[in-house]
């Protein structure tokens, strides 16, 4: 069972190898890069599948890594079946993203490092999933951040890409301050970084809450969610990778991994719950007003991750994990399909799409499946998992769990309300992009210059379904998006996740009603005023929602600018006080020296007079004091 090491090991090693490939555009250089990337993901997938099929009990491997003082660090693998399912999702998404990217970035000169970075990214996520050691988790956690930085900033033609990349890394890094401190406290308390040992210690609530800061950063939870919508500047497959299975899922997974500790701390759970409730609504509301196709999906991710953390908060890690898996499937599908749309029409903007259904039927039907799952339309995957989350919240409102009752209410209400909102924006997206007439020609003619190098066409062509390398991943992902929910009926899967048996009680009526309400409203708005964005109905709230409640401005005003001002102040102090003291000491010394030198340069007779007078003085003093003594 030592093969579990390979799950994370193979992509990491191949990623490093891929980085060493010479950069270049020609086919001969792209092929090994693509081969390395795909092979890494595929090998991991095979290993994971094998373990899933043949491993009977959780795999625990641990070896001593290093001792730092009293702290023992281990290199360990700890994989249960739940972890294997998550790893499976990661591998599948990564594999599809790799295949998809070959076609999507067919003319990018920096494809080789890109593919290698995806491998690293995947490997890092798999490390987080499989590591049995907090330091291992931390390694994967941060490597992911770095890779996300590299990948988001990949596109050289988008001026906002570098800024978005920096923002993504920095915001998550700020969260990681808390994560690092939390991990530090856990390690110090336990004296070891082995998760199995850490879990046996009584946790320090501060440590858990600090870790939540890191989770908020990585999983784009309020208030550290601001990087995710901007991260859309990265190539679309990267968005799929980040949103579906890696990065954002990592936070949820870490809380899941440490759940035995969280169970003991109502305070941490309350924080998590409040965070989740705010995030669910924030994401859903912001998604309603976006014009950028990818941003709609990005905000929806924020919202859906909120469901997962909400599930964790109300005491149902299983529901969280289940939603994580279904979300991985349908969100990967949606992003890859969105990539196909962008690939075809050359723009991200919904206001330039419309009427795409007849030209790209496969993409259309993929979108239908994905958006249905997102909204929670039965019997698609999202329905079952979201249902699980809401049920868990309902249970928690009855009290008796670790989490305070009011938090459970908060999560439940937010989740319920967001079902309607989700249905609304999913419907809007579908109708606005695929139905009606084409708005490709905006007021200023075709906007072909927007988008990517690879999506630039001199001649506007008819939108069409993507080439095979892009089509097949989409098609294959549509299957789990549609059917994964039914896995809840499979006992093996349920046992692995410790999931409750799905029961369709009366509680499902309420979300379904809200779902229908949201979808109908959107349809009605679209139908009533043809050619106009349904989001205009939001009225004056629209700009606010489109800007994501202006959290960027707040962040700028209260974090970025004060930091800059502080930096300016410290630099000034350093130059004008600290360094000036040093320089001043030097200057003063040389001034005094100059004065003394000047005194020594007086004319010879004056100098002689001074010397003799001094000698006379000294003699007089000596005699006087000698006499006195």
């Amino acid at each position: 069972m030592t093969a579990a090491v390979l799950i994370a090991g193979i992509p990491l090693l191949l990623g490093i190898a891929g980085l060493l490939l010479p950069p270049g555009d020609d086919e001969g250089r792209r092929r090994p890069a693509a081969a390395l990337g795909i092979a890494g993901a595929a090998a991991s997938l095979l290993v994971t599948l094998g373990l899933l099929l043949f491993a009977r009990k959780p795999i625990e491997l641990s070896t001593h890594w290093i001792s730092l003082g009293d702290v023992d660090l281990t290199l360990g693998i700890s994989v249960g079946h739940a972890a294997l399912y998550v790893a499976l999702a990661v591998c599948v998404v990564a594999l599809f993203v790799q295949i998809y990217s070959v076609a999507y970035l067919h003319d990018d000169p920096r494809y080789a490092p890109y593919a290698a970075q995806i491998s690293l990214f995947t490997g890092a996520m798999l490390l987080v999933v499989t590591s049995g050691d907090l330091i291992g988790v931390l390694v994967g956690w941060e490597v992911m951040g770095a890779c996300s930085y590299l990948l988001i900033g990949h596109d050289r033609r988008l001026p906002e890409a570098p800024a978005a990349a920096v923002k993504a890394f920095l915001v998550t890094r700020v969260g990681d301050v808390g994560f690092l401190l939390g991990v530090a406290i856990l390690i110090v308390d336990a004296g070891t970084s082995r998760i199995a040992d850490v879990l046996t210690e009584a946790p320090h609530p501060a440590a858990l809450i600090l870790i939540l800061a890191g989770v908020a950063g990585k999983s784009a939870q309020f208030p550290l969610h601001t990087w995710l919508p901007d991260a859309m500047a990265g190539p679309t497959p990267i968005s799929a990778l980040i949103h579906a299975a890696t990065m954002v899922a990592a936070g949820v997974y870490v809380v899941f991994r440490l759940y035995p500790l969280y169970e003991q701390s109502p305070a941490a759970l309350a924080v998590l719950g409040v965070m989740a409730a705010i995030t669910i609504l924030l994401g859903a509301l912001s998604a309603m007003a976006q014009d950028d196709l990818k941003r709609v999906l990005a905000w929806s991710t924020v919202s859906q991750i909120g469901y997962m953390t909400g599930a964790l908060a109300v005491g149902s890690p299983a529901a969280a994990l289940f939603h994580l898996l279904t979300h991985a499937a349908f969100k990967a599908l949606l992003f890859l399909a969105a990539g196909a749309v962008i690939h075809a029409v050359g723009t991200n903007y919904l206001s330039r799409m419309g009427g795409l259904r007849e030209h790209m039927p496969i993409t259309f039907w993929s979108f239908v499946a994905g958006l249905g799952a997102l909204a929670g339309l039965p019997p698609l995957a999202g329905f079952w998992s979201k249902e699980n989350v809401l049920t868990a919240a309902t249970h928690a409102t009855e009290g008796g769990g670790a989490v305070p009752v009011w938090v459970a209410w908060l999560v439940w209400l937010a989740g319920l309300f967001a079902v309607g909102l989700t249905a609304w924006y999913a419907t809007r997206l579908l109708l606005w992009a695929f139905f009606g007439v084409s708005r490709a020609h905006g007021p200023d003619g075709p906007d072909w210059e927007v988008g990517f190098d690879d999506a630039r066409y001199t001649q506007p062509a008819l939108p069409h379904d993507p080439p095979a390398a892009m089509r097949w991943p989409i098609l294959l992902l549509a299957i789990p998006s549609a059917l994964l929910g039914l896995a809840a009926f499979a006992p093996g899967f349920r046992t692995a996740l410790e999931l409750d048996e799905p029961h369709l009680g009366v509680a499902i009526v309420l979300p379904l009603v809200l779902l229908a309400l949201g979808a109908t409203t959107a349809w009605w708005l679209w139908r009533e005023v043809p050619g106009v964005d349904p989001a205009t109905a939001l009225g004056p709230a629209r700009p606010l929602l489109a800007a994501g409640f202006r959290f960027d401005d707040l962040q700028d005003r209260f974090i970025v600018r004060p930091t800059r001002a502080l930096a300016r102040a410290v630099t000034t102090v350093d130059e004008k006080v600290v360094d000036a003291t040093v320089e001043g000491t030097g200057t003063t010394t040389s001034r005094v020296g100059e004065a003394l030198a000047y005194a020594h340069r007086m004319s010879l007779p004056a100098a002689a007079a001074a010397v003799l007078a001094g000698a006379l003085l000294l003699g007089a003093v000596a005699v006087l004091f000698g006499a006195a003594a």
Binding site: E583, G584, G586, T587, S590, G593, A597, R601, S603, L604, P605, A608, A609, L612
Partner: protein
Amino acid sequence: MHVVIPYVVAALLFALGVYGVLRRRNAILVLMAVELMLNAVNLILVAADSTIKSALTGVQPEAWANPVPEPRAGAIFALFVIVLAAAEVGVGLAIVLQYYRLRRAVILDDVELYRHDHERVTG
């Protein structure tokens, strides 16, 4: 013999030497004044040599003060001083001559000691 006489003479000569060094502008005259001072010191050495020993009767001489059975160190020092003075005058006059050759003057007030370029240390 009253030893105070040579001592006072020496003191006055020394004072004259100091006065001369400070007063005179001509380098040669300054050297002469220096000679006066040296001679004053010599006089003190010789006078001390001749007289102090008789005042020290009964005092156990220290080893450092009495390297040989009969100390005549004062006179010997005086000799040494005379030799040193000769050397000093020789070199000093050579300098004066050289200076005169360069500047056509032996006026000490005009001697500039600070006309050299040194690196300015700026902070």
